[in-house]
């Protein structure tokens, strides 16, 4: 599940393209998804990760 979107040669990153990551479902778009680390303080934001979304289903990039 290592994300392979590293540009060759230099620093920097970009969101996943989600190309053919949602099986046969289209359109497949990258979205931010909050990851609940459990027991955070009120008003504290959750860390977020990228997932690929189609309809209301999420897929790994």
């Amino acid at each position: 599940r290592v994300l392979s979107r590293r540009r060759l040669g230099g620093p920097g990153s970009s969101p996943p393209t989600c190309r053919s990551k949602c099986g046969k479902c289209l359109p497949c778009k990258p979205v931010h998804v909050p990851i609940h680390p459990g027991f955070s303080m009120p008003l504290e934001y959750y860390p977020e990760a990228w997932r690929c979304k189609c309809g209301n289903k999420l897929f790994m990039p």
Partner: protein, 560 residues
């Protein structure tokens, strides 16, 4: 015996009865765990047996409000693969005997009140792939023997009282995907070895006592999606190498990081959340951060950042949170911020910003909170502000704003806080302020406002605090204020208010902080409904006001 003879329970059935016996609060939830009336323990609540056998494969008793302890009899569930007791009130220690359940793959004891050390015997569970002990009261170190579990994918020990260092061996695990250690008392520093976790996507050590620097090779942690090392005592500079990370969340806040924000961060377009707040960072906000066109949350507050707010930040079109407060930023608020149509919170408070609030801000129609407190901003309130219909919090206090308070402010109907204090506002308080029916806090103090207190204040039905002190208001207190049932604080001192103090204010039963001192009130302070609870300081400086305090014109104490 005349009772129908139950067939004798197997060892596993007896073990389950022992487990039940060491729980408390079982009366309602484990009714069917009854070896007398039903010896088919595979049918008992939460018990799952493996196919074709009567051996317990899974025990799920999560969120049943169970108390008591986990019985050592657990060792007799020899084929147990999954044990889920999370979300109860279990106390005591994890029995060492857990180590005999060698087929356990899933162990979730999170959200209980378990204490003591994490037993070494857990390391005997070679099949374990999920171990969650989050939110208990475990103490002592993280056993380095946990690294001997070859298939462990999730290790969550967050919110305990674990001490000592993170065992370096734990980093040499290509299988581990999730490492949750937040909210403990772990010490030591982050090891360069952490990037040996080539399968890890979630790394969270927030809220420990880690020291030392961010490892120079941090950029090698290319599998990380979330890197949260916030609220430790990490020192040194943010290494250039960080630009090689592929993370969606980079949380470094609440440490002691020094130096500048590396420009290379502006190339990390996969960032959804960038939080560098509450460190000791210096220098400018790199304008290249404007490249982060997929970032939703940017927190740089609480540093020592200088220079201007780069207009390029207006290119961060996905931004919903922008907090630059508590720095030493100067120059103007760039009009380009008006391009941020998804901006929800903009906090620029306590910097050295100057010039006006650009009209373009009124294009940020999603804006919910706007705070520019404590700068050197001037000009008048832009009339476009009335288009920000989602605003609930508006704080323009402690600046050099001038002109009158626009009538249209009363159209921002969702406001719960309106703070215009300590500016140079002149003219009258518009009656439309009374339309703000959700307002909880109104602070117009320390301006040059004159005219009357609008009677329409009586329709601020939610209001808890009104402070209009240190202005040049005159006239009397409107009796309509007596309708304000939630009013806790009414601060009117240092104005030119006069007339009699309205008896209706005794109807404000929540009122516990009143200051009408240094005005020109006359007549008698009402004594009804416990109004006498207010000290003389609430009333002094009104030479013609009669009350029950020494020095008042009707001072009851005999003069000698």
């Amino acid at each position: 015996l005349l009772l129908p003879l139950a067939s004798p329970l197997s060892d596993e059935g007896k073990a389950l009865m022992s487990i039940k016996a060491s729980f408390s609060n079982v009366a309602n939830v484990l009714l069917d765990w009854d070896d007398v009336h039903n010896d088919d323990f595979c049918s008992w609540r939460g018990v799952s047996c493996s196919n074709f056998s009567t051996s317990v494969a899974a025990l799920n008793l999560s969120s049943l409000n169970l108390g008591g302890e986990i019985s050592p009899a657990i060792r007799d569930l020899k084929n147990l693969q999954s044990l889920d007791l999370q979300g109860n009130n279990l106390t005591g220690q994890i029995p060492d005997e857990i180590g005999y359940c060698v087929y356990l793959m899933h162990l979730d004891l999170s959200n209980n009140i378990l204490y003591g050390d994490i037993p070494f015997s857990i390391s005997k569970l070679k099949q374990l792939d999920f171990l969650n002990l989050k939110n208990n009261q475990f103490t002592g170190p993280i056993p380095s023997t946990l690294t001997q579990i070859p298939n462990l994918k999730t290790l969550d020990l967050a919110q305990n009282q674990l001490t000592g260092e993170i065992p370096r061996l734990i980093y040499w695990n290509e299988v581990l995907q999730y490492l949750g250690l937040r909210g403990n008392s772990l010490t030591g520093s982050l090891s360069p070895d952490m990037c040996q976790l080539t399968g890890l996507w979630f790394f969270d050590v927030r809220g420990n006592n880690l020291t030392g620097t961010i490892p120079e090779n941090i950029g090698n942690c290319t599998s990380f999606e979330i890197l949260d090392i916030s609220y430790n005592q990490i020192t040194g500079e943010i290494p250039y190498n960080i630009g090689f990370l592929q993370v969606a969340t980079l949380s470094l806040q609440g440490n002691r990081l020094t130096g500048k924000i590396p420009e290379v961060i502006g190339l990390m377009q996969a960032l959804a959340v960038l939080d560098l707040s509450e460190n000791e960072l210096v220098g400018p906000i790199p304008s290249i951060l404007g490249n982060l066109s997929y970032t939703g949350k940017l927190y740089l507050h609480g540093n020592k950042l200088t220079g201007r707010i780069p207009p390029e930040l207006g290119n961060m079109t996905k931004l919903s949170y922008l907090q630059l407060n508590e720095n030493q930023l100067n120059g103007v608020i760039p009009a380009e911020l008006g391009k941020l149509e998804q901006l929800f919170e903009l906090n620029l408070a306590n910097n050295n910003l100057e010039g006006p609030i650009p009209d373009n801000i009124s294009s940020c129609t999603a804006l919910n909170q706007l705070n520019v407190h404590g700068n050197h901003l001037n000009g008048s309130i832009p009339s476009g502000l009335k288009h920000l219909e989602s605003l609930t919090y508006l704080n323009l206090s402690s600046n050099q704003f001038m002109g009158s308070i626009p009538v249209e402010l009363g159209h921002i109907i969702n406001l719960d806080t309106l703070d215009l204090s300590s500016n140079g506002f002149t003219g009258q308080i518009p009656a439309s302020v009374g339309d703000l029916e959700h307002l909880l806090t109104l602070n117009l103090s320390h301006n040059h406002l004159d005219g009357h207190i609008p009677a329409e204040f009586g329709t601020l039905k939610s209001i808890q605090e009104i402070d209009i002190s240190f202005n040049t208001l005159w006239g009397s207190i409107p009796e309509e204020l007596g309708q304000l049932q939630n009013l806790a604080s009414l601060i009117l001192n240092d104005n030119n208010l006069n007339g009699r103090f309205p008896n209706q204010l005794t109807n404000c039963l929540s009122l516990d902080n009143l200051n009408i001192s240094y005005n020109n009130f006359t007549g008698v302070i009402p004594q009804g409904k416990n109004f006498s609870r207010f000290p003389p300081d609430s009333f002094i400086g009104n030479p013609l006001l009669c009350g029950n305090w020494p020095g008042s014109i009707c001072d009851p104490t005999p003069k000698i």
